[in-house]
Symmetry: C2
Subunit: 167 residues, 2 copies
DNA sequence: CGCTAATTGAGAACAATTAGCGATATTCGT
DNA sequence: ACGAATATCGCTAATTGTTCTCAATTAGCG
């Protein structure tokens, strides 16, 4: 296992004068059991619990509070994948750390890994004297399916097409 | 000048059956004159106009509509810098294209450039058959000042510190 | 110039998130 | 274990950022 377990979570909370609660434990558990590549919004999590384990239902407020806390603690990663609301996933260390490619038309999301992005992030944060927490490369594009479907025309002058041509 | 001018904007609009309006022109102008490294939210833009050029005041609805349109057209870039609301800046082609390093405590934002991120993005989108629109690497960290000020402790097990150690 | 459809402004409507507040439950010292 | 101190919970109401509705206006084109 490569990410937080309940015990580590508890001691980290206690170090900060915070407490472990069944709710927090439940939320961590849900994220740990989430299939790879899935991420949940607050609502998603709320409904998921209601369906899968109604006896462990957690109020929306608590969910919001916990997601924020756990993100702040580095347990979770907050994703902004252009769907209007935030999504969360476990924040995993290196070999599992990944980024996202998103189709701006159909919202399809693909995960990918990149050591060079990690390196750039470490180098940059180091140079600026930052303590690195997380780095997310989000690529926006249009997938072939969406293009075929004749979605609104794609403009010509984008930033990335002007990227260096070598390599 | 490396980005859209009003004329290009107009013809692009017209090609799509849309119209150039004083409001849209004003908004483009504001962004073009914005100092490097600054980005505005919808509210920011609204108030900026009210102060700087009250006679050209634009309604909030129109601002939201225009920001969305211009982002969709590729003129603007939508930034999610963890401040709760979206910020916008001109979307600039290669040598000016950049990414952001953000302090999660004080919200200070530093821009930086990276060819390797561009390359990763082009390669990844190409491999998945995506038409590349924009790529943004956002690094979250804590700056030294914030650390010194004794902000809430920083957790130990982060994702990026586990990154490959070679170089 | 005049027609048609895109656009605007104002406010209402929305959806996601947060705050306030008693009631409850976890932690820690004993 | 027990009990005090206080973090946390769930509820509801409030806020925030953003979108929608619709009548009035205006850009684009012949």
């Amino acid at each position: 296992m490569y990410s937080y377990d309940s015990t580590t979570f508890r001691s980290e909370l206690n170090q900060l004068g915070l407490r472990m609660t069944p709710q927090r434990e439940t939320i961590l558990e849900v994220f740990r059991e989430l299939p790879k590549g899935k991420h949940l919004s607050a609502e998603d999590l709320y409904h998921h619990l209601q369906e899968v384990a109604p006896e462990r239902k957690i109020s929306l407020s608590t969910i919001y509070r916990s997601l924020k806390l756990m993100t702040h603690l580095g347990l979770l990663r907050e994703l902004e994948l252009a769907e209007g609301h935030k999504h969360y996933e476990l924040n995993q260390p290196h070999p599992h750390h990944h980024h996202h490619l998103v189709c701006v038309r159909c919202n399809r999301t693909i995960e990918f890994k990149s050591d060079s992005v990690l390196k750039v992030s470490m180098k940059t944060s180091g140079r600026e004297g930052f303590h690195l927490l997380d780095c997310q490369l989000t690529i926006h594009g249009v997938c072939v399916e969406a293009l075929k479907r004749g979605w609104p025309s794609v403009p010509q002058e984008w930033s990335c097409p002007h990227a260096p041509v070598d390599e």
